[in-house]
């Protein structure tokens, strides 16, 4: 079996308390569940269980266009193979205390043809390894101060690469201080959703640009273990939950918490075959495009 890396950021517990960045919320509790026996009125069957309550934008999750009320895709109908695809890992570890990640830093590391020669639905995902994962749980303040991806880089991704989704081992692709303002809105009504549809998000512009183009954003990955010489692999980022709607009106799910694993591209004789298969894939999908 090949080496498999778990890219899911752990939910860190400090006794019973979930240690997460402040604007997010999560609760975990241990409960005793009992079933009443109707006849005798006694509780005979008992077992322990946990209840977890958390924001879907917490931990490793995929931001969906519905986050900003763009309903171009029904999250309930995304096929499972969408979440299983090859991914390019861009290593951009550095000190992110001040400057955001720019296009110049990554342009040489991205092979444009690997994206443009495939139809959009078959393109690989693009993962950024910034090194911010090391602060997750241990120094949430530093983790929250990720300066984000520059606008030029976001636009390059949105209009040139157009991958189905991008991933990052940071809290967000935008400057994260803005997250705190989100907690101001507590009640969601129709008027609020319409307002969301109308406005452009300067605060979360990166999200806005990508989600408008149906490029999903896989945030909060844990990429510490991925070696620096690994630049490609198979990403499996399956949502934890599968939703379906029994009525016509479906609930607007805005993010999908997921379990992400990564299998690096093999380096042995399989590698040559995979390369050839990739070429064949480009040619075949070019024919039926």
């Amino acid at each position: 079996m090949r080496k498999i890396y778990d890219l899911t950021a752990p939910i860190c517990l400090e006794n019973d308390v979930v240690r997460i960045p402040k604007p997010k919320s999560a609760e975990i509790s241990l409960e005793l569940i009992g079933h009443d026996l109707l006849l005798s009125g006694t509780k005979l069957f008992k077992y322990l269980s946990n209840s977890i309550k958390f924001e879907v934008h917490l931990g490793t999750h995929i931001d969906l266009p519905t986050t900003f009320a763009y309903q171009s895709v029904d999250p309930f109908k995304i096929p499972v193979d969408f979440f299983i695809r090859e991914a390019h890992v861009i290593h951009v570890e550095r000190d992110y205390s001040k400057k955001s990640l720019t296009l110049d830093e990554v342009k040489d590391k991205i092979d444009l043809k690997e994206f443009t020669e495939l139809p959009r639905e078959r393109r690989p995902a693009l993962l950024f390894k910034t090194g911010m994962s090391r602060y997750w749980c241990y120094d949430n303040q530093k983790y929250m101060n990720f300066p984000g991806l520059s606008k030029s880089l976001i636009e390059f991704i949105a209009y040139e690469l157009e991958p189905p989704f991008i991933g990052i081992d940071a809290i967000s692709i935008d400057r994260t201080i803005e997250h705190r303002s989100l907690s101001l809105y507590t009640n969601i009504d129709e008027e609020f959703i319409n307002l969301l549809r109308m406005q452009e998000y300067t605060a979360l512009l990166g999200h806005d640009i990508l989600l408008r183009k149906n490029i999903y954003i896989l945030e909060n990955l844990d990429m510490r273990e991925i070696p620096s010489d690994v630049s490609r692999g198979l990403l499996i980022a399956l949502p934890l939950f599968r939703f379906t709607s029994l009525t016509e009106k479906s609930v607007m799910i805005t993010a999908l918490p997921c379990r992400a694993i990564f299998i690096p591209e093999p380096k042995d004789s399989f590698n040559e075959i995979i390369k050839k298969l990739r070429t064949l894939e480009k040619e075949l999908s070019g024919i039926i495009e």
Binding site: D268, I273, I274, K276, E283, I287
Partner: protein, 304 residues
Amino acid sequence: MTNLKLVSKRSKRLFTYFKALGNPIRFLIIYEMLDGRPYTKNEIVDYVSVLTEVPKTTVDRHFRTLLKYGIVRTAGKSARDGEKGRKPLLYVLSVDSLAFYANLFTYLLEGITDKRAKLIEKSLDDVKALLNIVDDVKLKLYLASHDVGDEIISNLSKALDSCVPIFSLVREAVRPRTFVADCENALELLNKISANQVILRKISADKMRELLYVAHIESNTPPEKLGPLLGIVYEAKLAEHHDLWDMVGTARHNDPATILKTLTDNIKCTEAEASYLISLANNIIRYLSSSITNQDLIRLILTF
């Protein structure tokens, strides 16, 4: 049997039309003249005779039959002198027969086009199925441990080596790639073409010479710079032939494969060379895109 006396004049004419088509030689003559242009008898007889390998006298006899039926008529004299110094007669399909055959062939060819579309659609379904197989194999290779035998890998590699160029050609014809814009891409493309026997068969030596020449004119690269790239290294030859057309013509090996191989081996992607190479690659893409027919595609897909 129907009494022909009772059949209307119009129906009799219809019988004649179909009777005329009843022989493959006459069928081809009519098909050739369907564009409504006037032809000399020699043009038609030569064409059909070459196509069918039937003696000219036989074709001539059938042509005269069509004249007798009134399906072909004379249309004045040719402006050019014929073989014997006289201006030969021109022939066209008569107005009513032209209308009849044009309608008939349109109807028949639409049927063929329709069938072809269905054939292509079926072929595309096969391509989709193949694409799913590619996905499966790729996924298995990621997940598989090292216990897959070398023989399987070797066979898979060979199979891919043989089919990738074929589908590459099909793709190029169906949906030409964006034209190349830099030297590396142009070089990559020419390398692929020079290694692909299927594509090379589509480019004759003369066509290659023409493509090289057009790129030379477009890129405005001096011949003395291109000579060495194309393997023409003798000073004397360069001095003797100032035009690339002549140079390629006198090159010892002027088959497309050797020319492209020499070119890609020698190129250093300097500014002048890059401009020439990009122009050449784009011209080849244009040529291949226009020269591959639907039949080629179907054959390529179905014979895979």
